[in-house]
Amino acid sequence: MNRKYLAAPFSLWMALFTIVPILLVAVYAFTDAGGTFTLENFSKVLDPLYLGVLLRSVGMALLCTLICLVIGYPAAYFLAKKEIDPRGALVLLFILPMWMNFLLRTYAWLALLESNGLITSTLNRLLTLLGAEGEVRLLYSYGAVLMGMVYNYLPFMVLPLYTVLSKIDPRVVEAAQDLGAGRAQVLSRVVLPLSLPGVASGVTMVFMPAVTTFVISRLLGGAQFKLFGDLIEQQFLFTGDWNLGSAMSLIMMALLLLSMGLMKGFGDKEERGQDA
């Protein structure tokens, strides 16, 4: 039975609140303040000044994604291996922070990382005990921004990995063991390849918000390490140059589409490999 009409509300929603706004962004990007066609906005973004910021944003996002993967994979593996009971509770612990708005959580880090804050002052007391000279300052650095990003986006990596890993049939692993594979071999030849679709979606889910980050860099970086997202916000809210802001957004969207395409190709290939 054809029930496509059930999707109508969703299609309408998408058209109204996703497609139309994107078209509006495109119109703004290709026009000047007076509304005539121009490519000037794009040539402005291609200025080394803005490109440098874009490159740095991509670099930060890649680093953030890598760290999330390195921390998130073992965590998800451990969660998936746990037998039933505490598992739900542990997964809940991962999701729990997401119930709170990310802005509030980032504000909390602002208080924790400042010089008289819990983390920095404890660390400094410890260092003094160990005889180290000087004082460590954590807030308002690249490290603080990166930490804020990893903290906020880690659940997006863990959850898809957990889903994929917990669905791996234990008999497959047993079969590998029966056939004489060691623990490392089971992991590298069986579990890892089977979990690649989860890696692909986790990487996409983290990379996308990470590359468009804006508030985290302003709060934890003290507005000194502005990322591309900050520049877009600045155009819309402070300078009021919506045309340039739209051109920046469009370039960002193209970049995301490209990276999603890459990851999708990667995920598809894996699935085909599985079927074969």
Binding site: Y140, G222, K226, G240
Partner: protein
Amino acid sequence: MKRLPVLLASLLALALLLAGCAPAKESITVYNWEDYICPEALDLFTEETGIQVNYVRFTTNEEMYIKLARGGASYDVAFPSDYMIERMITNDMLLPLDHEKLPNFSNTSAWLQDPDYDPGSKYSAPYMWGTVGILYNTKMTGGPIDSWEAMWDEKYQRNVLMMDSVRDSLGVTLCSLGYDLNTRALTELEQARDKLIRQRESGVLLAYGVDEIKDKMANNEAALGLVWSGDAITSIDINPDLAYCVPKEGSNIWADGMVIPKTSKNPDGAIRFIDFMMRPEIAAMNSEYIGYSTPNDAALALLDDDLVSDPTFNPSPEVIARCSFFHDVADVADLYDRIWVEVTAN
């Protein structure tokens, strides 16, 4: 910073607006800064006039301007700052004020009755004013500060907070170089830009902030911070080690005014609101509540002597004389924008 609450508040206000549409009760929509009025003053206004007040908030002049300029919502009274009032007058967005309906305007201090951003107060009535200066921790500086150069002094490693706003941070840097803070001269702006970059590279700068500067200063997180005088009063209240100065090289002085946008649906209600806000006891109530200086001489007489004699709250005419208002530089906005990206994103 407070965008989410603002959004929620706007949604709530919208909901109230829609809900309030059914019976035709007279109302006005007031668009003011976050945390910038004594709530009781609004109740008193409604009690006396029967006019309901829909109160909506913004966090920056630019945000307010974009909302008003791009249409959509209609506001009856808005509270822009000096240079923004100038821009709105230039763009023909304001209704002239009928001074016959503003008997309380005569309470306004003489020097603010005819401000250079709105000659003759044709379109705006001043609401609050203040200065920009250095809030400093006397324990960390070891003595008083009187010059902008302190904010570049390399003994304060990672101890200086500047504002995340190009007009303010660049403006005081121009002052420190002896230039006009409204300059359009490229060489002067570039010198100021380089000076700001040097402040970062020498390691003096801790961060650029907005609302958090006053909290960081109160928590002894930095030695010097660029702040508005009202925030200085709040922080000094919490932390008595702090002091405030308007440097000798001059600084920015600002005033926020009340205006009626052309899109107003109830300009009569709006002007009654503006006059009500200029009553001495209401102006005193607001000034006491938010800590900024009132432009209302009659209100000053009602305020606590301690407050009135505080030079942060009520600076001397000499201090006022060495400060200047911001003027609109919208025609070179992309130059300012680029400078700010060069300073903060490299």
